[in-house]
Symmetry: C2
């Protein structure tokens, strides 16, 4: 359990940290440029990273392991709601869906859709990325209920899907080309807040 202390200090030349970084970056770059997950080849990654193939195989067992690591780095930083207005916080969170500090994330996400349904590992990875974001939105909704801004009887989980879904299908699937992505977060939040039934 004391994994840090022992430091077996292996002899010989140590692994190059630059190579580590270059390999991960090359992987993400190629994905962002439009390569699909399985069209991605170790050889292409090695060439792009300026690295020998052996250097990759020395670190990862195969493409899957490398991808898992590479996507893990992509998580980035989550948006932080200000905590003043529930509406504004929701607009912020909805606007942050599919966005990331790393601009490559938006391009890569659609590629993950098929993988999520095929590999349990990748499904888990996907859930690991989004579940803290869901939690963040959940807390804002709970706060809204506590403050009396939102009704107490709403289904929080369904509400999150309501807020997230439209943004996600627009960003990932370009579901409706006529829908303006820029103003969508605001319009979605307000529509969910008010409902559509006549009263």
């Amino acid at each position: 359990m004391t994994s840090t202390a022992d430091a077996p200090r292996s002899p010989g030349r140590p692994r190059s940290i630059r190579a580590d970084e270059a390999i991960i970056e090359a992987t993400l770059d190629l994905l962002a440029e439009g390569s699909t997950i399985e069209a991605l080849s170790i050889e292409a990654i090695a060439a792009r990273a300026g690295v020998g193939k052996a250097t990759i195989y020395r670190r990862w067992a195969g493409k899957d392991a490398l991808l898992l690591d590479a996507l893990r780095r992509l998580k980035g930083v989550m948006a932080q709601p200000a905590g003043h207005s529930v509406r504004d916080d929701l607009v912020l969170l909805v606007g942050a869906i599919g966005k990331n500090v790393d601009p490559r994330a938006a391009k890569i996400m659609p590629c993950l859709a098929p993988a999520v349904n095929r590999s349990a590992d990748q499904f888990q990875l996907y859930q690991n990325i989004i579940s803290p974001r869901r939690q963040l939105m959940r807390e804002v909704l709970r706060r809204g209920i506590d403050e009396g801004v939102l009704r107490a009887d709403i289904d929080v989980e369904v509400t999150m899907a309501l807020l997230t879904g439209p943004m996600l299908i627009q960003r990932v699937l370009q579901w409706n080309p006529d829908l303006d992505e820029q103003t969508l977060p605001e319009r979605v939040v307000d529509a969910v807040l008010e409902g559509i039934r006549a009263r």
Copy 2:
């Protein structure tokens, strides 16, 4: 413009309709079984269809053309709202999202997500499939407005995204594993109808 009348009646053995059908079916089957679009090979399709490779190349220029044709057949029949209750019609339409007469459609759809963003053709194909469904939902919403069940000032396009998004991310991305897909349509429609703001 009279494309049906001329009938040049080419000599020789006519193209086998059974082969046409078998090739399309094999393509859809392989996709539904989990093959991704680019992992799909002409050779595999030919083998599965019990057809020579040449028979495929005689009909389509390549994999892309074949795929376009195959996915076109997948459209299937749209759900038909009963027209009595706006709420029930919406529940029906939302429940039909990602469903199809062809059960393979649900498995195939996630694979299209990456393709939609890469090929203009596939994007167009995707839009051709979903835009009539959007139109159907739009008409139900307009009817609701006319009947006074829905407010007249709602944004119809955003409302459609609100209804469609949650169902689509759940079916395609398994966005939230804790969300029950069975009851989701009802819960989504009711949440959108009522809104979540306290009043």
